[in-house]
Symmetry: C2
Subunit: 211 residues, 2 copies
């Protein structure tokens, strides 16, 4: 009955989507009810999500959604930057003509979204672009790590997108990445990706200083 494997995915999605905000207690019985499973299964999910860094469990005190401080978010983004450099370089190396067309198309759509002020669509395209780069890069280890890091810092990404002027800045950086990937220039792709995440970092650290 209990889809043992899938409830960890459901719970992860719910945490990332903000259904359970940071700091929320995750009580096993409630999870059992919500996901229609036994307590053992819920426990296993919590153990796994703890080792993914999304949940913190204190002995005999239960589990909570992990709070990510700004300084942690910065570290996470720095690590992401290192790994996405690698992915971008690989994408530049491996991209086929079909891939190149698709990437150009995504950037074109992004341009439209920014022009229209459609933040939600831009955010979706953002995810799509990074996701496609991961697929094109064919680097499973780095891809998995990056996905995990993205999940961990998602609460901060959210705030980021709301900053005024940010979409324009971000758009040009994404365009630069795609240009380099399409040109097959590995070093340029890595540097463009690093520049993009570096700009994310500077926003994060400014915001951190202000609090």
């Amino acid at each position: 009955m209990a889809r043992t494997e899938s409830i960890v995915n459901e719970l992860r999605n719910d945490i990332v989507a903000g259904v359970f905000p940071a700091g929320d207690r995750l009580i096993e019985l409630q999870l059992c009810e919500r996901y229609a499973s036994g307590r053992a299964v819920a426990r296993a999910a919590l153990v796994q999500l703890e080792s993914e860094g999304l949940v913190v469990r204190q002995p005999n005190r239960g589990a909570t959604v992990r709070r990510i401080s700004v300084s942690e978010a910065i570290e996470i983004t720095e690590a992401r930057s290192a790994l996405e450099r690698l992915i971008a370089a690989r994408a530049a190396r491996n991209a086929t003509e079909i891939d190149r067309d698709e990437l150009r198309g995504i950037v074109a759509d992004m341009r439209i979204s920014v022009a229209n002020g459609d933040a939600a669509r831009y955010s979706t395209l953002n995810r799509t672009l990074h996701g496609r780069l991961c697929e094109i890069g064919h680097h499973e280890i780095a891809t998995d790590l990056v996905h995990n890091l993205r999940n961990r810092a998602v609460s901060h990404q959210y705030r980021l997108a709301m900053m005024p002027g940010r979409p324009n800045e971000s758009l040009e950086q994404h365009a630069a990445i795609v240009d380099a990937v399409v040109a097959g220039d590995e070093a340029a792709a890595a540097d463009a990706m690093e520049a993009h995440l570096g700009s994310v970092l500077s926003v994060l650290s400014r915001w951190g200083d202000a609090h």
Copy 2:
């Protein structure tokens, strides 16, 4: 009674140390006996180690120690390279005078070990050096990821140390890393670290081609 938290560490150590070779079945009841714990605890440990990439679990078919192919080991080392670049750069930024002395001392000991052909001691110093760099770098996220990646590829690292001429080559690379860190040159430290792991990669890929 059951040290719920510690058995995952014990099992991880045993896997990394080769007590359970790659491909070995990890039967829950045997783990219970070995670590004097209940089955639920053993299960939890397996779930966690699966998400760390050390164990693979197939539904209704049990858990085995994950086999890491050479191509996977290459990917793991590539990801490690990206992250250790970051760590080395941070170490160069943060190292105090005391840290610098210690790093120089480790390299001096390494030189002695190589001269004496003491592979075991060299291997220990190798771990010590990378570990100290992680501590000096003060980058928890990257450090955790690197530790995990090291654990995953440990079976291949082992074979690597046995290659003739390898210790000498490796020694000079480590010396270069430490020189850059001691000099406080972030970019040079990152590049030296990348060069070091690049040499590991070339050995791995040569070995992979030969099989």
